[in-house]
């Protein structure tokens, strides 16, 4: 790193010099050995312990979902007028978590932020897993889940068609598109790495598996040409989706007449919130990954620093959004909106409002300090806070808005049941189980992309004396 800085000192101002993206000596060969060897190794005890915990959570979730299937939505705390509660909170929460991955892999790719290369794979995987957790809810939250397929506009002899005016239908398309594009994008990136693993492995079964998955990748120049083109195209597609998915999810609320939902600020506010929550989750997981998988040289403190800055920026946008909600309630002179906003800060669920504000706006401000951005303690604290805060933000939006809307006669307090918590726990179980399996089965870092940012990998005007 020092070497790099010294050589370029004469040409450009120091502030503009991009520091090295890896720490220590990393060569393409050592990178392969470091990253691709993982799936070959026997997992440590801690991994099994973790898997046991997450699988338990997963099974509890599956049990609770089964119970809901058998008895009905009444197993949850949902009631009139809070017809949506944990089901949709969890859905929005998990869709939001997914956003960081796509943002890192697609938007930062297009902006040529090269630091993204080392963390893009893991973030993308988390996107896929989060969306898997999210799509569970539209399926199980309907009253008759065995008919959930009616939400798809498929030709049928009953000549019934879906209602394209319904934001829920837009959701179906948005989330499906998002999931399929994210999956393709992720898989495409994986192909060269899988091919490397195919070539490295000695196990026969793995060989067959990787051969199939690598789709005949040989690393030929034509392969690379197509690969780069496809990657760029998918990045372009996914970029739009980062913005569209959560905008569409926010339409569920924004296009309704419920006071507290009916707001034009919702689409950008939701997208910012999603990136916010997603980055917090990525920070949390990457800290664990870099520590336990000895990847400190690839996932550097600089990565964490940059992501913490993103979190801080998003936190400020959230703060602005919250203030705008209050401003709208006041400026509109609409009694319903006004009542709804007062409920957030002072009603029965006022505590939830303050949890949201504290976790999302107040605590992340610590990240203005460089020391905090470099401290595990603070960044984990902020990340956990943001995760909790963003879950409660959806609680505030959904439950608080619904529990007191227009006619006071219909107002009612909502209370979740143990089944609600069980399903929430279950989704965390699913998410982290998938994360753990991913970490052991597939390369957690895109070696081909990291190779591209190793010192000397890119042609530069002073590249000649790099190794001098």
């Amino acid at each position: 790193m020092k070497l790099d800085a010294a050589t370029s000192a004469g040409d450009i101002p120091e502030a503009l010099i991009e520091p090295a993206l890896t720490v220590g000596v990393v060569t393409p060969g050592s990178l392969d050995d470091q990253v691709l060897a993982f799936p070959e190794m026997k997992p440590p005890k801690q991994w099994y312990l973790g898997l046991a915990v997450t699988l338990t959570a997963l099974l509890i979730g599956v049990g609770c979902i089964g119970y809901v299937f058998v008895t009905g939505i009444g197993a949850w705390g949902n009631t009139s007028p809070v017809f949506w509660a944990f089901d949709i909170i969890n859905f929005v929460f998990w869709v939001g978590i997914g956003h960081a991955g796509t943002l890192i892999s697609a938007i930062l790719f297009l902006f040529r932020k090269r630091w993204r290369n080392a963390i893009a794979r893991f973030a993308e995987a988390m996107t896929i897993f989060a969306v898997i957790c999210a799509v569970i809810f539209p399926l199980i939250h309907v009253g008759r889940p065995w008919l959930a397929y009616w939400l798809f506009p498929y030709p049928n002899q009953r000549a019934l068609w879906t209602n394209f005016r319904s934001p829920l239908l837009w959701d179906v398309f948005a989330v499906n598109t998002y999931f399929s594009v994210s999956l393709m994008f992720w898989y495409l990136g994986l192909i060269p790495d899988i091919a490397s693993m195919r070539d490295r492995t000695t196990s026969k079964i793995r060989k067959v598996l990787y051969t199939v998955l690598a789709m005949g990748w040989r690393g030929a120049a034509s392969h690379w040409q197509h690969y780069e083109k496809a990657y760029l195209l998918l990045a372009g597609l996914a970029t739009g989706l980062v913005l569209s998915v959560h905008s569409v999810v926010s339409f569920d609320f924004a296009t309704s007449v419920v006071p507290g939902w009916h707001m034009t600020i919702f689409p950008p506010y939701f997208v910012a919130g999603a990136i916010f929550a997603g980055f917090a989750m990525v920070v949390m997981v990457l800290v664990v990954v870099r520590e336990t998988m000895q990847l400190k040289n690839l996932i550097t403190m600089r990565h964490l620093d940059v992501m913490n800055k993103v979190i801080l920026a998003m936190s400020c946008i959230m703060g602005y959004s919250y203030m705008m909600e209050g401003f709208t309630a006041w400026y509109s002179m609409n009694e319903y909106l006004h009542h709804g906003f007062m409920n957030i800060i002072s009603g029965t669920y006022g505590w939830a409002g303050w949890v949201t504000i504290s976790c999302n706006i107040l605590i992340p401000q610590i990240l203005w300090f460089k020391k905090a951005r470099a401290s595990y303690f603070w960044m984990i604290l902020v990340a956990i806070g943001v995760t909790i805060g963003m879950w409660f933000e959806r609680f505030v939006i959904i439950v608080i808005s619904l529990h007191q809307d227009y006619l006071p006669s219909a107002w009612r307090i909502y209370k979740p049941t143990m089944i609600d918590f069980g399903v929430l726990l279950g989704t965390f179980g699913i998410f982290f189980t998938l994360v753990l399996l991913f970490a052991r089965v597939l390369p957690v870092i895109a070696t081909t992309e990291v190779k591209a940012i190793l010192p000397g990998a890119q042609p530069s005007h002073h590249g000649d004396d790099h190794h001098a």
Binding site: T71, G72, I73, G74, A75, G77, N78, T79, S80, P81, F83, W84, H141, V142, G143, R144, P145, L147, A148, W150, L151, L160, W161, T162, N163, R165, S166, P167, L168, L169, V172, D252, T255, S256, V257, V258, E335, H339, L402, Q404, D405, Y406, L407, P408, S409, A410, W411, R412, I413, K415
Partner: protein, 1004 residues
Amino acid sequence: MKTRLPEHGPLETPRFWRTLEERIETPEAQRAAHDEFLPGTIPAGPDYDDVHGLPPQSGVSRRDFLGLVSAAAALAATVACDRKGQGTVVPYTKRPVEVIPGVANYYASATHEGRRVYPVLVKTREGRPIHLTGNDEHPGVKGKTSPRVMADVLRLYDPDRLRAPKAQGHVASWADAEAQFHGALRGAKAAGKPVLLISGAVVSPSRKALLADLKTALPTLEHLAYEPAAGDAAEVAALASFGQAVDLQPRLDKAKVILSLGADFLNGEDPEAQAAWGAKRRLKNAQEAINRLWVLEGPLTLTGTNADQRVPVSPSRLGAVAFALAKELAAKGVALPTGTDLSGMSAGAPADIPAAVWSSLVKDLRAAGRNAVVLCGAQMPAEAHQAAHLLNAMLGSEAVALRAAEPLATVKDLEAAAQKMASGAYAAVLFWDVNPAYTYPKAAAWKEAVTKVPFRAWIGQVEDETSAQCQLLLPENHWLESWGDYATPGAAVLQQPAIGALYDTRQGEDILLGVLKAMGATVPDGYHAYLQARWKKELPFGTSFEQALHDGLVKGETKTSAPVFKGASVAAAAKKAVAAKADGLELVLFPGFATHDGRHANNSWLQETPDPITKMTWDNPVAVSVQDAKALGLEEGDWVTLALDGATLKLPAVIQPGQAPGVLALALGYGRTTGGVAKGMGVNAFPLVGLDPASAHARGGAKLAKAGGRKELSRTQSHHRMEGRDLVRSLTMDEFAHNPQGHHHMPELVTLYEDQKFPDHKWGMVIDLAACTGCSACMVACQSENNVATVGPEQVARGREMHWIRIDRYYEGELENPKVVHQPMLCQHCDNAPCENVCPVNATNHSPEGLNQMAYNRCVGTRYCANNCPYKVRRFNFLEYTAYKTEPETLAYNPEVTVRPRGVMEKCSFCVQRINDVKIRAKGDGRAILDGEITTACMAGCPSDAIVFGDLKDPKSKVSQLVAASRAYRVLEELGVKPAITYLADLKNPAMPMASTEGGHHEA
């Protein structure tokens, strides 16, 4: 009574035979018939005649094996294909003459509750009674009835009904049961020992005649007519004031000023009063005459919520206040009845009432004169009743009709009977439709006394607390399976069955006829014949019995001399009233809105219909005034102990705005220990009823203490203020005259979209809040018509009740005596319905006639529509509320309305089945639909005619005209959803400026 099991031919003799030998059953022929297949080809076959026997051979034969395989395949296929499996659909093999599938039959019939008679029209489908309305021919009720009567159709299908006689706890045949019963009575007669019969009120002339016949045949018979919730004080007062029992019917059509002393005549029980009230309140303009309702009461009643001027007064003070009023009126020149002595009273306004209110009330009553009426609540002390009788006599009120009535037994009579039973004097006791083991205040002593009677028989429908002590249980028909008659003012009413008896039951009168016969009397064969014989004698010339049955009544006023008020009774009552003072808290025990005296407690429709005041379902919390709750530190739902006279109850408390300080109110009829629905719901308050009939239901000296902990209340409304929103508009007559729209500035509603076109019809509804009393009859009517499921107290506590129409009740102003408004809330069938565009599967959409339709089959249950409904009138089947139901419960279903499964959204359909029924009939007749021809269930059930339904496209229709009324407004109109329901603002006619509502009168 015949049994209704399928009849088999004699099993011994084959009904079909192949040979004559077989017919005459020679052994050879039988063997030949058995070994149809040649002997030896298969092992000796199984004896198929013996269902329990098994094949004698060892191992399974090829035939058995194949049989089993095919049976297994068939079973597997059946089980696997259950998804679309239908219940058995069997056409009538012999269609009953009366029944045409798909066509409703209507029967005129009648029932009664206490002394009140309800002539009804029964709608039957495929032979099953499914819906009740009032008999439209009757001059008094005019097609209306009460919520409890409407719900009583469900009792017909109560699965807990006793289906055959029981003797000593075992099912017995009627022959055995009667032998036992008649034997015991004959023995009593022979021994000359008294026999006690306790029944409900006797309002039927034929039943009265039958009982007289029985008394002749069995001279030792003693009869008590017992109505535990009728109000003993009213009986005591009537005997004192008139020297006889009286039945008192308000004639509100003649009343300009009404003073209620705790009387709750607008709670839906009295369709005649409701109708008159509605007629006086549905004003087109402020120039029309309106009545004025003054209410002095302790607990807040439904009538109190409709008052123009209400003053909270504790029940013990009511008598004194009313006598003071009499004195004041007398001083102002209103003549006292002869012999009246009010010298014991001090003159002037009593301390309980503000002076300005007092003088205004006196002025009002005096001015109204004969058009004023004073009504007293049945639970109030006898002095208050006597004062009311005096005031009516002084004013010469035309607005109340008094008729001589059969006397009712009071607690005192029951106490005497219990003592006599305990002494072993009675040879037999017969309970007929009464439950004293539950309703008598000292139940333990009562049960102990009953067991001292050697022979105890019980006639009733569902085994109860009383039947537990009886050896012989005789199951009774539901009234919809029975004959009877009633005398009502204006018409003699007939009761006829609308269905044959479902089980092996008999009607009580038939059982007594059997007794008569056993005693050697010559009586007609069955009560139908008995009734017919009596009626044929008394029918006016030119009317056939069949015609009377068809109409359900014969019009005509029976001439009875009105009871005369005895002035001499006043002095003692006034003295007692002045001295009356409650120590400790005063407790008012009133019949439960749903359960009455407990007889309806097993009816889930009623249990789930919220109390119109507290909005409680399935429970009877004690209502505590705001002041007392503050003093005791009570909050809603807190467990409390209520102690009075050695009886202590633990129950939850609710804080009741408007209730007089120092007064507690508690509903009777809960805490039953029998019945699948009733058991364990609420607490039994009868132990708190006093043994002094003069104030059995209004008692002093109650003690209330916090018991710790809180109960989650199964309440349908938990927020009681309008939060300053323009939801229920209420106008004084002054405002109505000058500024009916108030200061409500409606933003101009612009839309980018084209208005929806309605080519033929546009259905709409108008609800007049001035006429609506909040009685909740519409809720029960809707429940019955639309197969609305009940969900139970736990689900109600979570907010999952399923009612398609509800009554929103809001308090305004200070809580000590708030203004109360009621608002029926149902699907508004918005033209721009927010629910419609959010449904992803198009399960809810708009009809070309303006109906917001729900396609249950298409609904997947995303619940988005309910979130987006500003009125929150959509109901979701959170759990499976219907599929577990079996016969007989399912027989109560209206076949024209889909029964909704779990996971499906539902809501008011504007009774689309009724709309279509009329449309089809009009089309068949080749004519247009007449205005008023289509009635929704809520409209037909509304006793005050507050609801009007019709075609908004027809400018001459009633609904179109009402929509243009000056009081008209739409709820949440500013959202631009264009509701199809228009509300007419509530009207209040206060005698003085309404101070109490200043704080809460909101202008949006």
